[in-house]
Symmetry: C2
Subunit: 199 residues, 2 copies
């Protein structure tokens, strides 16, 4: 009985994870508005009211997908103990990892663009996310300056916004060129030109 209950919960959690994966893929392919609960549910082998048992609304599903990604990727940036230069290199390393995960790149590229509309359900999420990304980059530059590794004339605030913008724009080019754009290479060249030491 206890074993059955545990198996039951485990099965529910597994299905929940499967829904998050399939939803991430379809939100990336078609955007939030273009994706339908029925298609996501079918890909998980359940009906769409079955999906709504796990996530009560389409909006809650989108937010769960975004939060799930942040949990999984949270350790990639903002790691304590690293030098500023290492943290800047981490942005390029993240781009390198992303080049192996088209679904995730599509998700953030397509949904962040959709979410520039003030009435989009993920608008507040992306406003917060960009503010944090830009300030993370800015702090990494400021730390590199303290380490004497930053070239004169590079302003951490400007450079932070620049770095995040560059990463986003490269993702669009990478998706449109079917993977031909070397995101990490372009990023490393950009960072190298701002630093006095090798990356």
């Amino acid at each position: 009985m206890a074993a059955e209950a545990r198996r039951g919960y485990a099965k529910g959690r597994a299905k929940r994870g499967e829904i998050l994966d399939q939803a991430m893929a379809l939100f990336g392919e078609a955007g939030y508005r273009g994706a339908s609960l029925r298609v996501i549910a079918t890909r998980c082998g359940i009906s769409h009211p079955g999906l709504l048992h796990h996530f009560p609304t389409k909006e809650s599903l989108l937010l769960a997908v975004l939060e799930h990604r942040d949990e999984v990727d949270g350790e990639w940036l903002g790691l304590g103990g690293a030098t500023g230069v290492q943290r800047l290199g981490g942005f390029a390393a993240l781009a390198e990892l992303n080049a192996t995960r088209r679904g995730i790149v599509e998700l953030f590229c397509v949904v962040s663009a959709e979410a520039t509309s003030a009435d989009h359900p993920a608008h507040a999420y992306f406003v917060r996310r960009y503010a944090r990304s830009v300030s993370d980059a800015e702090r990494a530059y400021a730390q590199a300056r303290e380490e004497g590794a930053l070239r004169d004339g590079v302003d951490p605030a400007l450079a932070g916004a620049q770095l995040i913008a560059l990463m986003d724009g490269l993702q669009v080019q990478w998706l449109l060129s079917d993977g031909a754009t070397d995101m990490a290479g372009v990023l490393r060249a950009h960072l190298q030109a701002q630093l006095t030491v090798r990356l």
Copy 2:
């Protein structure tokens, strides 16, 4: 009779232009998939079959909107006679102009992200558009090099992809920050760091 015919054609052309303007705005607000012909038609004061009299399908309307923008903005870049440095400055000037036209920025930001899907009706359009933008930027850098205005270590091909990526990424940040991001300022700082002369 000739006058009446001329007035009739003029009215048709005016309505066509009104449809293109309203379609541009709604495609930007809601994306291609999220925009509906009925809403666009209502904003123009006609029924949606009325709209379909001017543009036979939703897809043809989207492509007409994109081509209309290219015609209007075509002269901003690729102007003959300018120096490479002036043409690079033109990219920043375009960003400055775009900061006064939220609807146009939304259109390209949202629809280009949607169009990364291979089955999107504007996919081929954006693949072509990016290839041309990147090579325009690349040629401007190569020209600046010939003028002796480009710093050592700046590779025109890399720098071209970088500049276009930066412009796109800044547009997302500008839209999400409700106009607080200084697109032209960040771009000018980026260009200035690559040049040996004042912009």
